[in-house]
């Protein structure tokens, strides 16, 4: 594909965009996985959330 004399600017722009989006996606997946693992670990230790037994469970804790 010939992008002319300014190809380096075009490819750099697409390269930076790809890298940033890849980082955002990886961060989102890894962060959720880490928190889920920590939650499971605490639950296996017998720790329960305050609201876990309440109907509706409408709190974050």
């Amino acid at each position: 594909m010939d992008l002319g004399p300014h190809a380096v600017f075009i490819w750099t722009a697409y390269g930076v965009t790809t890298a940033v989006i890849a980082l955002l996606v990886a961060r989102a997946i890894i962060d959720e996985r880490r928190q889920r693992e920590a939650l499971v670990k605490l639950e296996t230790q017998g720790i329960r959330r305050r609201s876990a037994s309440h109907a509706g469970d409408d709190t974050l804790s």
């Binding site: 965009t17 955002l24 974050l60």
Partner: protein
């Protein structure tokens, strides 16, 4: 019946997003594949800007999302300050790093487009400077969340900053009309309709849809992680207090 209160219930939110996220991820991938194909193999070179017009397909959606994300933070901040709903707080907090990333992309890709077209990577004109201010606002919000440990206090401080900073959004939008700038005026969202040829407008709109669906996926995923993080923190506090009361009983 499904209403706002049901939707804003964290457990319901977790169940709903668990189902929705794979579809959003698939839709984003499909839209990006279509958008990139149109951008590189269908859209013609511009008669003035030549091949560099292809930077527009990633620059303009990034700039739109940068502004959309900040508007979402401001709307969530109202929900957080007025109704004190924790999900609004979570929505505002998790949108900030994503918005900062899109703003950075708008600045960098704009700069890479500016050099061959204007002869300079950067000029201190109204559009570029107001977007740079938006980037600093995002950094300020992230710094506030990082520096105040108690989430509700951090949320309140960040909400106030977000609502003050919303004044920058119309400044960004209308900066090209209010001041003389190197940046081109609005050519898609304007009275009288778009001024871009459909051959270039279509890939741009497909890429904008791809960015929007990607943003939704990233934001919902980040909100889920934040909800889990707060649950983990509460459980760890429970563990500490349980250990302390056991020690006291000995």
């Amino acid at each position: 019946m499904l209403n706002f209160a049901t939707l804003a219930n964290p457990s319901f939110f977790m169940r709903l997003t668990d189902r929705v996220l794979p579809w959003l991820g698939g839709a984003a991938a499909l839209l990006f594949a279509t958008g990139l194909y149109l951008a590189f193999f269908v859209a013609p070179a511009d008669y003035q800007q030549g091949e560099t017009v292809r930077i527009m397909f990633i620059h303009v959606p990034a700039a739109w999302l940068a502004m959309f994300c900040y508007t979402l933070i401001a709307a969530s901040s109202i929900g957080s300050l007025v109704w004190r709903h924790p999900l609004a707080d979570v929505a505002a907090k998790t949108a900030a790093p994503i918005g900062a990333a899109f703003t950075l992309l708008a600045l960098v890709t704009g700069s890479l487009w500016g050099k061959p077209m204007w002869g300079a990577y950067w000029v201190w004109d109204a559009r570029l400077t107001s977007v740079l201010v938006l980037f600093f606002l995002y950094l300020g919000l992230i710094a506030l969340w990082q520096s105040i440990e108690e989430p509700s206090r951090a949320g309140r401080a960040a909400a106030i900053l977000a609502l003050v900073g919303i004044v920058n959004i119309p400044i960004i939008k209308f900066s090209v009309d209010w001041w003389n700038t190197l940046h081109q005026p609005a050519s898609v969202m304007r009275m009288g309709g778009p001024t871009i040829h459909p051959a270039i407008l279509t890939p741009l709109l497909v890429m904008a849809a791809a960015y929007t669906v990607l943003f939704l996926w990233l934001h919902l995923k980040a909100m889920r992680a934040e909800i889990l993080r707060r649950r983990v923190e509460t459980m760890m506090m429970t563990r500490v207090s349980r250990a302390a009361s056991l020690k006291a009983a000995e």
